[in-house]
């Protein structure tokens, strides 16, 4: 009770005070709008839909290149039920060239989304990924926080930009699948040619699912 | 009118107010406040007489006033202590009620 503990404490804060002028360890403030903490590769905020762009310079082909096939697994698995999907009536070719239905409507309510990434985990088509954009403050609750498929669509290049390692793995996987599918198609075509009979191909979803086991 | 008379009149007025308070209020604390006012009026008289008296350098009146302040403070402490003590037992500071309880 003689005050030496208090003096020690004062010395400690004095050390920190002085240190804050000279050492980066002791002055850790990152002045946000001007300086930013380097974004983490693994960071996740809200989901977005990946599309493969044939023309990376313009973003016109977002609808054509969208990987989503409206299988509605994510909608079902989403814990807070913030995804809404409507299937299309018609079909369009997917990345392997197979004709698939696509989402006529794909809404994510980011005012409900809990950024849990389960949709990404369960998606067999590598179609939904997590964005790192977090600057979304708005005074418009209903207009700005319900994202439709156009707002959600981001190119594969953008995906590469924010998650380079993961995107490369995904691309490799997709390429392998595509090769497999092509081979299969080719084999089927050969077989078809050989058998001269028409038979529907194996659904492309199955092999994709097999690969997504982690 | 001499200044002294003015002070004396003020002192008399305060004394009367204090007395009226002490006699008319029911709350014992306010009675004590009245008494304090009366003591203060007396102090004012002391100082006024000292100031306009024949020997201000002798400090008599002023010393008396200072002692009086000390005595009044002691009185206030004990008086208010008594009020608190009574309140603890009688649960009231109302003098009328205290009288009734006594009678």
């Amino acid at each position: 009770m003689l005050g030496e503990g208090i003096l020690k404490g004062l010395a400690e804060t004095a050390k920190n005070f002085a240190g804050s002028f000279v050492s980066a360890e002791r002055m850790i403030t990152v002045q946000y709008p001007e300086e930013r903490i380097a974004p983490m590769e693994a960071a996740r905020v809200f989901p977005f839909l990946v599309y493969d762009s044939k023309h990376p310079e313009d973003s016109l082909d977002w609808e054509a290149g969208m990987r989503c096939v409206a299988c509605q697994i994510c909608e079902k698995e989403c814990p807070p039920k913030c995804i809404y999907i409507e299937k299309s009536k018609d079909k369009k070719p997917d990345f392997v060239g197979k004709m698939q239905i696509y989402p006529a409507r794909f809404d994510i309510d980011i005012s409900v989304c809990m950024s849990c990434q389960i949709c990404v985990e369960v998606c067999p088509f590598e179609a939904i990924k997590m964005d790192t954009q977090f600057e979304l403050a708005t005074d418009d609750r209903f207009g700005a926080l319900l994202l439709d498929r156009k707002e959600l669509a981001k190119s594969n290049e953008y995906y590469h930009h924010i998650h380079p390692t993961e995107a490369a793995e995904v691309d490799a996987r997709l390429a392998a699948e595509k090769a497999k599918a092509n081979a299969k198609v080719k084999a089927a075509a050969d077989a078809a040619v050989a058998k001269a009979a028409t038979q529907p191909a194996v659904p492309a979803a199955k092999p994709a699912e097999g690969n997504k086991q982690e | 009118m001499s200044p002294l008379a003015g002070y004396l009149l003020v002192a008399a007025l305060i004394f009367a107010i204090g007395l009226a308070g002490a006699l008319t209020r029911r709350n014992a604390i306010l009675v004590l406040i009245g008494i304090e006012l009366m003591l203060n009026a007396a102090n004012l008289n002391l100082i006024a007489f000292w100031r306009y008296g024949p020997h201000p350098e002798a400090l008599t009146g002023m010393m008396f006033a200072i002692f009086s302040i000390a005595v009044a403070a002691a009185e206030a402490a004990v008086g208010l202590g008594l009020v608190i003590s009574i309140h603890r037992h009688a649960k009231t500071t109302d003098l009328d009620e205290m009288n009734r309880m006594k009678g």
Partner: protein, 123 residues
Amino acid sequence: MASSPYFSLAVLFVAALGFGLAPLGLARLWGRLLSPAKPNAIKNDIYECGLESRGDAWVQFRSAYYLYAIIFLIFDVEAVFLLPFAVAFSGLGAAACGAMLIFVLLLVEGLAWAWAKGVLTWA
């Protein structure tokens, strides 16, 4: 009159009063002109951690506060006597200082009594 110390004090008093009142007046004026106050029963209720306020705050306190106030009063009065003594201290003889010592010791005795009695222990 201006040379009297009390004149300076009076001026300081008025200025300090003005310093307190002027911004409050300005704030009132602002409210009158542009930002009307909208008092209502919920807003002007007593704050109580977000709950509706229950019971009155003006309750009976405990005598611990009063005991401290008594001791404070006594020592305040003591200081009134100590200060003139201290001023005159350098010119005083040992006898006078002894008298003051007795004065202080008497009060210290009161303090010691209160201490022993447990009055100084806050409950």
